[in-house]
Symmetry: C2
Subunit: 172 residues, 2 copies
């Protein structure tokens, strides 16, 4: 795949991540590309929105791609995701036979593509996707950092407001 | 949990597995039990039926339980499954904070609870369920063995029939 194409698809994954961000979800986005270059699956993190622990970006994108192709085998397909997959998503990538995985930011807490464990390198498993780590890593990391900084700012603001309300309550 | 209860819940997981078997799916079943002993999620393997690589018994049961409780956190819940979870399902169990996992047969090819990898023992992950391995292991293994023996028998029968058809075609 050309650098131009990789950039194009990764930017589409960022677009998905932004949909999550707009709904106060941790911004993570994923897309699936078929061998002809068509985008056949899209997903963004919806864990809080759906109150469902399985609603990660990659799972949603994989399910959409399976539905699109009418098969659970995503042979010769590529997955682009803004954050290193967790064990569940790495497992789903193996189960669906995705050929190539491109991801952005590393996840030192839950990354299953090298950061904590490397499920793609376990010889005994029956499928081993090719993995490209750290594609647009800076952009991907910055997006997550900005999101968590904003969360902390809002929490601080809410705490300060509560203290002011409590104090004025005491004085009344 | 009492032995009686464990037996009862595991038999419910077997009932789910039988639903898969009746539809020619690899017979794997799972259920989720809340802290009060209520069954709040059920699932059986539907990979071929739905042509969706994520439609494993555990994922379906977890999603149903999340929907039932209205939260992605299955705190203090137990999961019973007839086969050792794969990496995807072990990851989903960690993500959803299931407290206790009981499984039947070991999976030497894809088991992520000790057989190939042990995701539940990875210190860095933020949740570590308690795991009971090999509950009704014989029954669980036998069910899978019978299923695959039947598959092979049908394949052999179909092959023999094809050969007879070809031969009679040649004689006409």
């Amino acid at each position: 795949m050309s650098s131009e194409d990789k950039k194009k698809y990764m930017q589409l994954a960022f677009e998905e991540a932004k949909k999550a961000e707009k709904q106060d979800e941790v911004p993570i986005g994923a897309i699936i590309v078929d061998p002809d270059g068509n985008v056949i699956g899209r997903g963004y993190n919806r864990r809080e929105l759906d109150q469902d622990s399985t609603q990660h970006a990659e799972i949603i994108a994989i399910r959409e791609a399976c539905q699109h192709l009418g098969t659970w085998r995503l042979i010769d397909c590529s997955l682009f995701v803004t954050l290193e997959p967790c064990p569940m998503c790495a497992g789903a990538i193996i189960n669906s036979r995705v050929r190539t995985v491109y991801f952005g930011a590393l996840d030192p807490k839950a990354g299953a593509a090298g950061s904590v464990v490397d499920l793609f390198a376990v010889e005994k498993f029956n499928h081993h996707p090719q993995v490209y780590r750290g594609l647009f890593r800076e952009q991907a990391s910055q997006m997550l950092k900005d999101f968590f900084r904003e969360i902390r700012r809002k929490q601080k603001e809410a705490k300060a407001k509560k203290e002011i309300d409590n104090n004025s309550g005491n004085q009344e």
